[in-house]
């Protein structure tokens, strides 16, 4: 097998990093090398959302992203949300509404909810369902997830107004 690896530089949760990366490596496996396990491969087909991360501020499925292609870009994972020690309003709302059971899909839902509320700070239930339709929860905490998104939206609006 030829050596198809290459040195890449990118920004990871705000910090510049470098890595030697094989051409076939995907972004989830690259993040594992940085001990970041919040994005995780489950279905391996971009359908469950467990591997959601942001690349240049846009949500992508890490399992469908070639690691070499994040060269020069900015990658943000769920671990960035509480870097200051405090939970994000979305994370807190997920806890308060009990919006998970096993927790394996939760980082993906949390990341997608942040993206939804960035685009649409006041989503109705239909908009929540449409936006989160690409994330699967086998424990089926969907009713609680919808409530968590609504709670987070309300709190974020209130905080904004204050």
């Amino acid at each position: 097998m030829d050596d198809t690896s290459r040195q890449i530089r990118f920004t990871l949760n705000g910090r510049p990093v470098t890595a030697r990366v094989e051409s076939h490596l995907d972004l989830v496996d690259l993040l594992r090398r940085f001990d970041l396990f919040g994005a995780r491969e489950s279905c391996g087909q971009g359908l469950c959302g467990c591997c959601t991360v942001l690349v240049d501020g846009v949500a992508v499925s890490g399992c469908l992203t070639l690691a070499q292609l994040v060269d020069g870009r900015s990658v943000t994972t769920v671990e960035s949300l509480d870097e200051g020690g405090a939970l994000s309003p979305v994370q807190q709302a997920f806890i308060d509404e009990g919006a998970f059971q096993c927790g394996f899909c939760t980082p993906g839902f949390v990341m997608m909810t942040h993206e939804l509320l960035k685009e649409n700070p006041d989503p109705d239930e239909a908009a929540i369902r449409d936006y989160l339709a690409g994330n699967l929860c086998r424990c089926a905490a969907y009713p609680e997830i919808i409530r968590a998104v609504q709670t987070a939206a309300t709190r974020m609006k209130t905080a904004q107004a204050a």
Partner: protein
């Protein structure tokens, strides 16, 4: 005497947020999925491509030649570590890697070990095998008489007391036949006004936990540590020790959080393989399945249920049940599913004459085991569809017909065990009231027709099984709970901590729960069948009481008068002169049980408690396309007194929605034994758009007097009624009856067409 701080009000019954909530929302919770250890080899499995065949040869040379491959291992290599490498909870029928024969497509035949998982995956594609194909059998009813025999000899395991009666036989696919005979069914049929007979079928489905199965074994000096996503660490230890001929204490099994289980991660799954590999190559070995590979590993039984009932004066007088369970190629826990579900096959009705035959069959499909309900959802699907059909034929309101026949408190259920703390009526009446059953119902217009349906079911617990717990109170008064119950999302850590908090009079949030580690945490049979709240809950309560009693004794020994407001911290300080010492409380619990009489299947004590669940739905059928939309779903259960109402509610909607997927569309499809839709692209599970427009979950007022603080299990109860409630509602809406799951739009459409002629 109360030596504690004033007790924080009501730890039990409080909706404490999950103790591990913060780790989960931040992505920092530990799963085996995350685990990497130095020197670790990754494993990729080469799998059988034929459903039934003798292995003629396996060629691993090309794979071995791939740069970076550490070793390729076949079944014969495994014998070097374990001469008799067969495992299983009911039968020792499953080889670690195939030997001589393969029995289903996807069966592990060889493995590649490499430091780079991509290399292992690449190399495994270069392995080839030659098989002499044998006639396969796939259908559970055909398996009874088929010439194709999956296992030539049956080898009972004898591990569990409730499966002691299994016997070894030759040349049959019947792994277990459970029989129950009560009263005289033939006489009841002869004397009846009407006799009704139907056949119902369910399809094979898969748990698809989002964390696919994963195990990692690390060899030590005459010891072995297995980190595994397992629901049954104690069983894994015992079974691995048995395979290796070691004492239990040389095998350590560690289980962090599980990314879902639902029964998929029970007994032995990947553990025997990684254990053998680690000992063979003397390095840590990790095996992570892909989503696809899970479909070849374990599934939910497909089933056929023939049910025949006699009715006289509106009362069911006799019922004959014949249930065929498609167990796939290896028994796994199928025999227990067959027997335990057999107990309640006639449903929650008071019937004097009952005959039950429940058969566990081997076939050449991937193995079937436990999946959220242990067979009960398949049974309720049949008997509650049947109940509705009878009511319709007799022109009696289906709710009224159920009321006339319902099994009331104190009455003997089919097995001869009396119903106790079983709020069957309350569950039915709760749903009826919620749905305003007696009020007129909007039946829709044009192509959209509406209907509603109700179904109730019940389940006996898995018995007799043991749980042991340890509560350790430290020198500063803080405490930890050591137990081998696995929190796979059901919230057991939190609920068990609540029991400790309630018993010791401390805040739940201050109890640390030590996750299963068989070097540290005591025995528990397994986390399955909604048994933990009751069994482990009782053990935890006993352990906490034991600790409390010792604290009381310590206070007395220190000469403190009763009523002194001394906390544990002060007691330790007074006793040891500094922050030091421990109080260790131990609790062990096993309920009483009486094995069913082998001849009649009867016993006056088959279960320590009953789980009750029911569902009502209002639906809309698009008569032009067959699409069914769930407008409203009402789930109700008797779970005794809920320890944590919010977590219970999440369990109810989660269970009901999972069963909704099994009801409407989930289905493992086959082409000559090959699953053709083994991925989320083609095996669809419910997403957020599949959530009913309205979903309500009710916990009925009840108490399980023998349970910890009145509680009992609940993880499965809300699955029971979902499938038949929907089928009954479809019948109500458009007048057609589906008897085979899943209830796809095409099936509904075809039934409507057939009805129109």
């Amino acid at each position: 005497m109360n030596v504690m701080r004033p007790m924080p009000a009501g730890q039990v019954g409080r909706s404490v947020p999950r103790l591990e909530a913060r780790e989960k929302v931040t992505g920092r919770a530990d799963y085996v999925h995350n685990l990497v250890v130095p020197g670790m080899l990754y494993t990729k499995v080469f799998r059988s491509t034929v459903p039934h065949g003798r292995i003629v040869s396996i060629d691993t040379s090309a794979a071995e030649a791939v740069e970076g491959v550490y070793r390729v291992v076949t079944g014969e290599d495994i014998r070097k570590v374990v001469p008799e490498p067969y495992y299983g909870p009911a039968f020792h029928d499953q080889p670690v890697l195939a030997l001589d024969k393969v029995r289903h497509v996807g069966e592990p035949v060889a493995v590649v070990l490499a430091e780079d998982p991509y290399v292992a995956a690449e190399a495994v594609q270069l392995i080839t095998a030659e098989y002499e194909e044998l006639e396969p059998v796939f259908d559970e009813v055909e398996a009874v008489t088929s010439r194709a025999v999956v296992h030539e000899v049956l080898k009972p395991a004898g591990t569990f007391p409730d499966l002691k009666h299994l016997v070894g036989r030759r040349d049959t696919n019947v792994a277990l036949d459970y029989q129950l005979r009560r009263g005289d069914v033939d006489a009841a049929f002869a004397a009846a006004d009407r006799v009704f007979e139907h056949e119902f079928r369910t399809q094979q489905t898969m748990h698809t936990p989002l964390e696919p199965m994963v195990s990692l074994a690390i060899p030590g000096h005459e010891s072995l540590t297995i980190h595994t996503a397992s629901q049954s660490p104690s069983f894994v230890r015992i079974e691995i020790a048995r395979l290796l001929g070691w004492p239990e204490n040389r095998v350590r099994v560690v289980v962090p959080h599980l990314g879902g289980g639902f029964g998929a991660k029970l007994y032995i799954k990947l553990e025997a393989l990684v254990a053998c590999l680690a000992l063979l190559v003397r390095r840590p070995v990790k095996l992570s399945l892909t989503m696809e590979e899970q479909f070849y590993t374990i599934s939910k039984h497909a089933s056929t249920f023939r049910i025949r009932s006699s009715v006289k004066d509106g009362k069911i007088t006799g019922r004959r049940c014949e249930v065929f369970w498609n167990g796939g190629a290896y028994a796994d826990i199928g025999p227990r599913v067959t027997q335990k579900s057999g107990f309640t096959a006639p449903g929650p009705y008071d019937i004097d004459n009952v005959s039950i035959d429940s058969y566990a069959l081997y076939t050449n499909r991937p193995p079937a085991g436990a999946l959220r309900g242990f067979g009960i959802p398949q049974l309720v699907w049949a008997y509650e569809s049947h109940t509705d059909l009878i009511a319709r034929e007799l022109e009696i309101d289906p709710v009224e017909f159920r009321r006339n026949n319902i099994l009331r408190e104190g009455r003997e259920q089919a097995t001869g065990t009396a119903m106790k703390d079983a709020a069957i009526e309350a569950v039915l009446e709760d749903i009826v009231a919620r749905m305003d059953w007696s009020k007129p119902f909007d039946r829709g217009t044009g192509p959209l027709r509406r209907g509603r349906g109700i179904a109730i079911g019940f389940k006996a617990s898995i018995s007799p099984t043991t749980s042991v717990a340890i509560v350790n109170v430290y020198g500063d008064g803080s405490s930890s709970l050591y137990l081998s119950t696995v929190d796979m999302g059901q919230g057991s850590d939190t609920a068990m901590a609540q029991i400790v908090g309630e018993t010791l009079g401390i805040e739940t949030e201050n109890v640390k729960v030590i996750h299963p580690d068989t070097d540290v945490t005591p025995y528990d049979m397994a986390t399955l069948g909604s048994r933990s709240t009751f069994h482990m809950g009782n053990a935890v309560k006993l352990a906490a009481q034991h600790a409390r009693d010792q604290l009381d004794a310590l206070a007395r020994s220190l000469g403190l008068p009763p009523g002194t407001n001394y906390g544990p911290k002060d007691l330790f300080k007074k006793k040891y002169g500094m922050q030091a010492g421990n109080i260790v409380g131990v609790g062990s619990y096993i309920p009483d049980y009486k094995s069913p009489d082998p001849a009649t299947g009867l016993s006056d004590n088959v279960t320590p408690f009953w789980m009750i669940g029911g569902t009502g739905v209002e639906i809309e059928v698009d008569t032009e396309t067959g699409h069914v939309r769930i407008l409203r779903m009402v789930n109700a259960v008797d779970c005794g007194r809920p320890l944590n109402p919010k977590i219970v509610e999440t369990q109810l909607s989660g269970a009901a929605l999972m069963q909704l997927g099994f009801t409407l569309f989930e289905n493992m499809e086959y082409d000559n034994g090959q699953v053709t839709n083994a991925s989320f692209a083609d095996y669809k599970i419910p997403g957020i758009h599949d959530l009913p427009a309205r979903i309500e979950n009710d916990i009925v007022e009840a108490e399980q007097k023998s349970g910890p603080y009145g509680a009992k299990g609940v993880g499965e109860s809300a699955t029971f009624g979902v499938s038949p409630a929907i089928a009954n509602a479809i019948h109500d809406a458009v007048g057609v009856r589906l008897t085979e799951m899943p209830l796809t739009p095409e099936a509904v459409f075809r039934a409507i067409r057939a009805q129109k002629g």
